[in-house]
């Protein structure tokens, strides 16, 4: 581990230990903004860590920023860190100044389309965006669409704009945003804006799932060594050992796939790496959560135990920004179109 990464790990873990207690997670699920946690992350520059230095970043490498995101998911931190990083990177890529505070993105559903239009005073956005993550608690959103057939990213204030708020399985808010000729604060062309939002969103959810899986394994190992039945820790039973070995395989694969996707996405999200990552890690999320719960027995099924903060996130994130089937099919089509003989050169290019 590099020295920078080591420092970063200590810094963010300290923040999460201090500000991401169970009570904070619970009140966030009840709708309260975790102000102290967010402020602490802002103060050390984590919320802007994924931005290039010229766009107000903290001079942190993208890979290290993704490591911080992974740790936030390990700690089940109820904050729009991924969304803020994603929105910020879209703005930076479009050359738009990145505002302070929590940011989100829209649209995030494949069936939603926002209509951008040029008007005398600037540009406006119209349309409905469903399940915008943290859309009720962020001050700004980055909207993407097309203007004159060209991809565009725009910045818009969404204070008070949210309609009904749903929650994903982890209790994270997903808000309905309805725009009617709402003025953009700024807008600029961004090539392939829609697909960039989707692919980069899938990258961040992949990284988050890798972090949540690490925590899930840790909980399961801890519990198996503590819980005594038939006169010995259940970790001593071969059935449990084998289940945990399989879980470890999923966690290891998720970790490797997340790293690989991040490494090739420094400038812009890498289609192949993200397709592989979201597919493989999404599968690991479901299979891993199942094993972790089975090992925990009834205890893991309670609100009292912390396991659910990780597994409910896994069950939510695997379906956001495209589930496994979506990315696998996309990847499978690309592979089939290029033909069998192109597969090995593609796999061995790195």
């Amino acid at each position: 581990m590099s020295e920078i990464r080591d420092d970063l790990l200590k810094t963010v873990d300290r923040i999460f230990d201090e500000h991401c207690q169970k009570s904070v997670r619970e009140s966030a699920e009840a709708g309260e903004w975790p102000a102290a946690l967010w402020q602490a992350l802002e103060e050390v520059g984590v919320t802007r860590a994924a931005l290039p230095e010229g766009a107000g970043g903290s001079g942190i490498e993208f890979e290290d920023a993704m490591f911080a995101l992974r740790r936030s998911a390990y700690h089940a931190a109820p904050v729009p860190l991924a969304e803020t990083m994603l929105a910020g990177r879209l703005l930076a890529a479009a050359g738009i100044a990145v505002p302070e505070g929590g940011l989100t993105v829209a649209p995030v559903q494949r069936n939603d389309q926002l209509k951008l239009a040029k008007e005398a005073s600037g540009a406006t956005v119209s349309g409905t965006a469903h399940r915008v993550p943290w859309g009720n608690l962020c001050a700004h959103a980055v909207v993407v669409g097309e203007l004159d057939g060209i991809g565009v990213a725009g910045l818009i204030s969404i204070v008070g704009a949210a309609g009904s708020v749903e929650r994903n399985l982890a209790g994270e808010p997903r808000a309905l945003l309805r725009f009617e000729r709402a003025p953009l604060i700024a807008f600029a062309p961004l090539e392939g804006a829609l697909s960039r939002l989707e692919t980069e969103g899938a990258l961040y959810r992949s990284v988050q799932m890798a972090g949540a899986l690490e925590r899930t394994l840790e909980y399961a190992l801890l519990y198996a060594n503590e819980r005594v039945q038939f006169g010995r820790p259940i970790a001593k039973f071969q059935a449990i050992q084998h289940m945990l070995a399989v879980l470890a395989g999923h966690v290891a694969a998720a970790s490797a796939a997340a790293d690989a996707a991040v490494e090739t996405s420094g400038i812009a999200p890498d289609e192949f790496g993200v397709s592989v990552g979201k597919s493989r890690i999404g599968e690991a999320a479901g299979k891993g959560a199942e094993i972790a719960h089975q090992v925990h027995g009834a205890m893991g099924y309670t609100r009292e135990h912390n396991l659910h903060y990780s597994t409910r996130r896994l069950w939510s994130w695997r379906d956001e920004f495209g589930n496994e089937s979506y990315w696998q099919t996309r990847l499978g089509r690309a592979v089939a179109a290029q033909g069998a003989d192109a597969l090995w050169p593609m796999l061995s290019r790195l």
Partner: protein, 382 residues
């Protein structure tokens, strides 16, 4: 914190040159009719092909030049290995000697063993088998009964080894035998011997596999004499060597490319415009494969740096062999066909051959269950 690190590796420029060198070689071999990729697995024994690999410097790549090696790095060897496997090359004759026996001799062998045997392995003319399992000692390797008794200037071995792949065609076998009395520590008192299979005193009988193929053998030693300088390591070091050394042979591309030819031919059969279901399954396998390759190359990089990623390496084999076994099970649904006995010359034959070989993937080199037990130990559960 249990964090699995699969750091990226930077392949040296020389590895890229080697990669295209191997690709050219395979293309030439296939063009000349020397082999057909879909008919092979990495067990396919082809002594002529192995000799040509030796001529090209693809065997013993990491060994010192004085023993016929090429003083290449682990990553350079990795690239050659994965290219041969992905290309469906019949590497079975030299595989064991190159992957593990030669390495053990280099590390633990006497000067005479190193000087007489290693150059021949590297030349692709000397092949090895593994002599660990016995009729009553499979997963429980410490139960070996083959016994070696010290005599003047050497040892006399008696006992029976089974599942000995290729012993009817290989030149040597490394046998694990009991040399000390049974002690409290059942891992003590075991020693590894290099056994020359061409000498009298060794009987090799076939054990036909489920599809009638001859790969396995039963090897019987009857007071077979092994000179002192054909001991590997020291007397009593056998257990440590078989467990420690082989731990690092679990993470190679042979642990996830066994069904790669079927994957390729399935993609070919499905064609460039797959339906959703086929596209989905192809994509899933490619995602698994890309991830496994990342894990595997990363372990190779760690080994090169002198790290000991035992759990990371074991996980590659468990996840990799699970993947291998899913490939035929999935494509049989997507490409309706009846698997057919044969040599793999057609899709039904390739599917049939893969189904019949698949049970071995999660048994050879330590069963899935033994492996999961080792992973559990690495996780602090045992």
């Amino acid at each position: 914190m249990h964090e699995f690190r699969y750091d990226p590796v930077q392949l040296p420029a020389s590895a890229q040159i080697l990669r295209s060198d191997v690709r050219t070689f395979i293309a030439e071999e296939v063009a000349s009719g020397a082999f057909t990729p879909s008919r092979n697995s990495w067990n396919t024994f082809d002594a002529d092909f192995s000799r040509r690999c030796g001529e090209r410097g693809y065997i013993g790549m990491r060994w010192p030049k004085q023993y016929g090696g090429h003083e290449r790095s682990a990553l350079e060897r990795y690239v050659v290995t994965e290219e041969l496997l992905a290309g469906g090359a019949p590497v079975g004759a030299h595989w064991v000697a190159d992957r593990q026996s030669g390495h053990q001799i280099l590390r633990y062998g006497s000067d005479r063993a190193k000087q007489t045997i290693l150059p021949k392995i590297a030349a692709g003319v000397c092949f090895f088998s593994i002599g660990m399992s016995e009729p009553d000692s499979g997963s429980d390797l410490a139960a070996v009964r083959t016994r070696a008794i010290q005599v003047e200037s050497g040892w006399k071995i008696s006992g029976t080894k089974v599942w000995t792949s290729g012993a009817h065609r290989t030149n040597y076998l490394i046998a694990l035998a009991r040399t000390g009395p049974k002690e409290e520590d059942r891992h003590a008192g075991m020693t590894q011997f290099i056994v020359d299979l061409s000498h009298p005193g060794v009987t090799v009988r076939p054990i036909y596999n489920l599809y009638g193929g001859h790969d396995f053998n039963e090897v019987v030693f009857d007071e077979y004499f092994v000179p002192d300088d054909m001991i590997l390591g020291g007397v009593g070091m056998g257990w440590k060597m078989v467990t420690g050394e082989l731990a690092f042979e679990r993470s190679g591309p042979d642990r996830f490319l066994s069904t790669y030819q079927l994957l390729l031919e399935s993609i070919r059969a499905i064609g460039p415009d797959p339906d959703d279901r086929s596209a989905n399954e192809i994509g899933r396998f490619v995602a698994h494969l890309a991830t496994l390759r990342r894990m595997s190359t990363s372990v190779a990089g760690m080994l090169e740096r002198g790290a000991q990623p035992i759990v990371e390496a074991a996980l590659v084999k468990d996840v990799g062999t699970t993947f291998e076994r899913e490939v035929p099970e999935t494509f049989r649904h997507l490409i309706p066909t009846e698997p057919t006995l044969g040599e793999g010359g057609s899709y039904p034959e390739l599917l049939g051959m893969t189904i019949l070989r698949a049970p071995g993937f999660t048994i050879r080199g330590g069963t899935r269950e033994i492996l999961r037990g080792m992973i559990a130990r690495g996780l602090g559960l045992r």
